[in-house]
Symmetry: C2
């Protein structure tokens, strides 16, 4: 079939799903975020974009610290809940077993297979969102989700998100080896 | 098992995989990119982070336009190839059937189920990467990959990437409904 023009408000397919943590009003708060990616190799940095109206943004600006936690599919309901209710109205500080590394304002989630503690490097103000760029200063992983010392996606069982159909998806079968599958096209 | 501290140079799980297009040295060039996400709701914007050494960056800076193309799993080898070889040494302008919308320096890939043409809004210089923020001004989709006018991931069949194991993965089974599955936790 042919290409057709569609509404330019399209997603990236698929989006990762993480829980962003910050301390707001003296307690841990969480937000479900799909607009996140790594942005710098060395030192390791990531960016995440949060709608300006979110409560979590205040805590990140105040303490210049936040956490990024990758939930497994077993935490899907709790993760979705964190995206449904605002910390302005609901106390989410009892939802998980939090722990802290060196950063005292980056609440890490013990139930998540992978947790990152970040310091704020830069905040870029966009028309409707705040793009926060952070340095990953510490990472913690569930020992049972590691293979050769690195997080193993088949053990972590993260999930992904698509919009506008608002659907979560599991990770599927292995499709190929990166930086390798294309070698047969090299001359 | 318990949480253990690991190297802070960790990935987001999983990463989407796209082909970024630009016109460099008078011809279309492509780069495989996993560090990409939406960053602004209205107008629609995305960001992508490219290592400063990439050839594509020159074209984006020169023309202030680029494309983001989401490949299906059938294009895995060609996509991987675009991440293995540099446009400085290899001509990638014949690898796909390119077409252009309103932006004459944003080469769109007819074989990809979803293509976005972007104008450069801002470039943030990070220590080892350029973070390009662009506005999605046009989007095109394969008519066969739409459901109710929107891209359908089950028809597009995009794939994802994990590092440091350098593996591509298919999208798996539906895991739940977003902004819905957590309702049962609301009081």
């Amino acid at each position: 079939m042919g290409m057709t023009r569609i509404d330019s408000n399209v997603s990236i397919y698929p989006m990762p799903v993480v829980l962003v943590g910050a301390v707001v009003g003296g307690r841990a708060n969480l937000l479900a975020v799909g607009w996140i990616s790594r942005v710098n190799h060395q030192p390791p940095m990531l960016s995440m974009s949060l709608s300006k109206r979110h409560y979590t943004n205040d805590g990140i600006r105040e303490h210049k610290e936040f956490s990024v936690n990758v939930p497994g599919v077993g935490l899907l309901e709790k993760t979705d809940y964190c995206g449904l209710v605002s910390g302005r109205e609901v106390d989410k500080s009892k939802l998980f077993d939090f722990f802290y590394g060196r950063l005292r304002n980056a609440p890490l989630i013990r139930e998540c297979p992978l947790c990152m503690a970040c310091t704020l490097v830069e905040a870029v103000s966009l028309p409707s969102n705040d793009l926060f760029i952070g340095e990953i200063v510490e990472a913690y992983a569930d020992e049972g989700c590691l293979t050769a010392g690195s997080p193993d996606i088949s053990k972590m069982q993260p999930f992904t998100l698509t919009m506008p159909d608002n659907t979560y998806w599991r990770i599927g079968e292995k499709a190929g080896n990166a930086w390798d599958a294309g070698r047969k096209l090299m001359q």
